[in-house]
Every structure is written in C-alpha cells, then in structure tokens.
Assembly symmetry: C2
Homo-oligomer: 256 residues x 2
C-alpha cells in the first residue's frame, strides 16, 4: 500500500489528514522490511536476538515475534534453530513469488476483483511473446521439456493426467522463453483459468485438439521460426477463449 | 510451492521419496488457506475461536495464533477486536497484491533473480497493449487523470516531483486500460525500474523529453487511435531502454 492509501481525508477537518494507526508489530515489520529492501540488511544477514530487537524498538518480545512471523510468511526471513540459529534475511524465490501471485489471482478471480476478460487479455499479452522468445532462445533441454509434456497416446490418459500435461506444456514454453519474470506473471494466470476448466465437463475431443495445437506450437518453436510460433500460440489461445467463456460461469454459479 | 518442490529424491533409497516436514502452524495455515481458496470459507466468514481451532486441529493455541498471524500477513484474514470480534476471512485487494508483487520484484531484481533485460521485455509486453486498450476504453475521468500527471512547467519542479509525475502518468495509462490484472502485473515492473532511475544522476533534459513523450501518448489515447497510441508507447519505451541499461549497473555496484 502506498502512503496515500493510508490517508483518510476528513470532511470536518479541511486540509487535515489522519493516518490509520498501525499496530506496533506492523511498524516493526515495516522498518525491518524497509532495511531489507534498501539493502541495509542484505540476504544472509543475521538479525539481533528477539530480546535485542525488543530493546532497540522499545516493544515487547511478543510484538517482535509477531513481526518476525509476518516477515517469515512474506518470505523475507528464515528462522534456524539450534546453537548457531537465529533469524536470517532471505529473499523470496521466483517459485514462491509465483505461488503467492497464483493464490492472489485465484482469490481475486473468485470475488470478481479480476474478471475472465482480464485474465484472457493478459494471458495473450504474455504467452504469445513467450512463444516468440522460445523460438529464438530454445535449447535442447527446453525443447525436450516441451515434447515430454505432449502425450503420445492422449486418449489412454485420464482427464486429470491430461490437465497435468497441459500445465506442463505451457510451463515449458514459458521456461523456454528464458525470462523468469514472464513465467512469474503468466503461470498464475494460466493456472487460474485451467483450474476452472478442469472442474468442468470437458471431453476427450477437447484434449485431442489441445494435443494437435501443442504439437504445432512445439514444431514451430523447434524450427526457430519466431513469427510462426507466435501465430500458432495466438490461434491456440483464440480457440480456447470461447471454451473458457462457456465454462467460467458454470463454475461461479456452482459456488465452488 | 508445488508439491513436487517439497519432494527430496534420495539416492540411497531408490523409488522412495520423502517430504520435507512442515511445522504444525504451517500445516494449520495450509488447511485454512485451502478452505479459503476452495470457497468453503468464503469472504466474510468468521473463524472459530483460537481455542476452538486448537481443539479441532489438536495443537496448542500458540500454534493456532502463529498460523492466523501468517494468514493475516498474506491478507486472507482480518482480526477484529471487541465483543463481536474474531478472525474473519477476507481476500487481498488488488492494491495489496500489487504491493506484494512490487516488493517481490524489487528483491528479485537485487539478487539478480530477475534481470534488467527481463524487466524491460515484460514491461513492453504489458504497457504497449495497455496504451492500445486505453485508446479504446478511455473515459473523461481517465483522460483527465493522465493529463494531470503531465506537469505544465516541468522545469520548475524538483527531480523528486518529476518522478512522482512519471509514476502517476504510467499508472494512469494502465488505469485507462480498464484491466486491473494488467495494472497488477505492470506497475511493480515500472516501479522497480523507476526506483533505480530516480537514485541516479539523471538531469532536466531527461524530464523535458519524458514530458514531450507523455503528451504525445496522451494525445493519441485521447483521439482514440489505438495503433498510434501503441506506436507512441513503443517509441517511448525504446527511448528509455538505453537509459536504464546505463544506470542499472551503477546502482548495483554502489551496493545500495
């Protein structure tokens, strides 16, 4: 939240603004977080003991503990037990950031804080360029990863397994783009859409087509043709959109 | 983190995999989080008391409290004091998600978990389409918001104020695109880049050009010309890239 959001304009006190009171533990967490972001407490640094921090901040140990628990949840601290233990500054891994964003986008989509149209739009902005970059940056490893996510005999697989393959294929394309930030932003979007789809009455014909599309995308990326990779991914997403539109609301109405 | 990440393959025990032990409070948080994501605990639902939860999960009140603190930090619970108080399920606001992503991207960029090239690439994928959408969806309000972020007399302003204007202009374009998810994904990227830039020796000529560019983008969006808006934004970002490339490493070497 920016400082502005904490400011409540009061009609009865013109030109005077008040700040929402923050709990002592939040203030301790805010200060430590700022020191971490600013680099004063770099990754690996050991924090003073709870008692030391309590004395420095002029608060109780319980308040310090609450602040440290919060920062651990954010992935900024790691607590090690034992003689050489303590709280160490750490930085969230890309995986952790992706998971947190996945959770947030899932919840926002349930409360309509994020709509289906928004998800479909942003997915195109990220996955179409990802296919292009993948064609330019592919390696033997990332091509193999993509190929392994396309099942040989799709019709012999359960629907659950099919969805795992779908997820792995889209993850592999993002991975082949060699841009971690692109994966962080795109994977949660794909994941929210796919979760809805996987809980619906989607049949084997759907997965047959998915496999045909994935093979075409893989072939284009393998050939290194950026334009063709982009085009194949665009067509795939355009084909998927009406399916999502049909299924999205079923799910919402079921209240799951 | 996916389940796969928690699995450690052991060379001495072929075909046997062990799972990393999770703390009791993490397990309690995991279960409550799953109930919230699954919709069993919808937004607004009141949780049982700490004592009630401790009995149900078979853990201590301290463990329950640690789990609840973690979920509050994630923005999934809100604690209200008083007679009608308790812990209520809430869902993170788009602002909160944006802030969390901002923090994560900042830290990842400091540890090279995310590189400058990645930031510049993803920024283009998001802000160029945002300018296009803004031209198609602009309203009197969002056009005014954009206009107000372009100072009339840029040279009379301090550099700090200039950067606030820059930020507000890019936020306003994202806002005008009427896609919350686009703002959530793009704002943190812009913000990390701008923070680095603002700590460097950038001069008034830079801000003079920025203002010329912003006026051109605003005019294109105001005229409703999607193609021209896209083109203006693309040119603006292409002009900015070498500036970021020059400044990024200065900052990193200074160790700040």
């Amino acid at each position: 939240m920016t400082d502005d959001d904490d400011v409540t304009p009061r009609a009865t006190m013109p030109r005077v603004q008040v700040r929402r009171i923050r709990k002592a533990s939040e203030q301790v967490a805010d200060q430590l977080r700022a020191l971490i972001i600013g680099g004063d407490l770099p990754a690996g640094a050991k924090l003073p003991t709870e008692q030391g921090l309590a004395t420095e901040f002029g608060v109780s140990r319980a308040t310090v503990r609450e602040a440290l628990t919060g920062l651990s949840t954010e992935g900024l601290l790691r607590t090690v037990k034992g003689v050489n233990g303590g709280s160490f500054v750490t930085t969230p891994s890309p995986d952790r950031v992706r998971d947190a964003l996945n959770l947030a986008v899932t919840l926002l989509s349930q409360t309509n804080g994020v709509t289906l149209d928004e998800l479909l739009e942003v997915r195109e902005y990220l996955e179409i360029p990802a296919a292009r970059l993948a064609a330019l940056r592919r390696t033997g490893d990332t091509l193999r990863e993509m190929a392994e996510a396309i099942p040989e005999s799709p019709l012999e697989l359960s629907l659950g397994t099919q969805f795992v393959h779908n997820r792995d294929f889209h993850k592999a394309v993002l991975h082949a783009s060699e841009n971690t930030l692109l994966s962080i932003a795109a994977e949660p979007i794909f994941s929210v859409l796919q979760t809805r789809l996987s809980r619906s009455e989607i049949g084997p014909a759907f997965h047959r087509t998915i496999n045909v599309h994935h093979r075409a995308i893989h072939a284009a990326i393998a050939s290194g043709d950026a334009g063709e990779s982009e085009r194949q991914m665009r067509e795939h997403l355009a084909w998927l959109s009406p399916k999502y539109r049909r299924i999205w609301h079923e799910f919402q109405e079921s209240g799951i």
